[in-house]
Assembly symmetry: C2
Homo-oligomer: 112 residues x 2
DNA sequence: AATTTGCGTAACCGAATGGTTATGCATATA
DNA sequence: TATATGCATAACCATTCGGTTACGCAAATT
């Protein structure tokens, strides 16, 4: 199964988990208190988030402390910021886009 | 079924479609030439992308011209840029994050 | 030692996903 | 008018997703 950041943030529950953990790390039970779905359901989502490196677990006795580790968000930000020109009106973003477009245009000239 | 931008960009094929359409709008067949999967498969993905507003279809005779309309990317960018502090070292991003944290911290003080 | 707590995981389920092939309908071309 | 082209869509399929309940284990508490 695919385990990448794009997939990870596709689910609203996982985004909520990230929002909560980014603000304060906490163990699984207190995390689950914020949701109506069951604790095992949260446990599963946490597993997905750890598998793609967005959440780190630190065991302290019987408690599993979860914390967010959002370095990988750079992947998403990197992909999406190419298109900033579409939702804001920074002119330099437009410049970057066109420049980049001209560059990859050359590569696109493949002969079939 | 859920149809939002986060979901739409979760699939690598759809991201490739967006990349292609952002650089030059084109009809479905020429778009499908870039992929190994069948034309109906691309057609389905395009449908998903139009349903969440990321792609616009303009019929010209029997051809369907597809173009990217990436304003909705702002949603993703807006969510993710809160966490910029995690993948770059802009100090103002850290400032923004902590400021925002302090603010929502107040709201989080719910009595159970 | 017995019990409670925090958690992972297995087994199961319905629905969604992402692909396929087959068909048919407009539009363009011969 | 007959044929070719561009496309949507239906029907189907295997796999994944996101949840559930039931269970068990290790650590803490009594």
């Amino acid at each position: 199964m695919r385990r990448d950041v794009f997939q990870a943030i596709a689910d609203p529950t996982r985004r909520d988990i990230i929002d909560l953990l980014a603000r304060n790390p906490q163990n699984l039970n207190s995390l689950a208190d914020n949701f109506t779905i069951s604790r095992p359901a949260i446990s599963k989502q946490i597993k997905i988030l750890t598998q793609c490196g967005l959440v780190t677990i630190t065991r302290q006795g019987r408690e599993h402390y979860c914390s967010a580790n959002l370095k990988k968000f750079g992947e998403v930000a990197g992909w999406i910021e190419k298109y900033q020109v579409f939702w804001n009106n920074k002119l330099d973003a437009l410049g970057d886009f066109l420049e980049n477009e001209a560059e990859t245009e050359k590569l696109a000239n493949k002969t079939p």
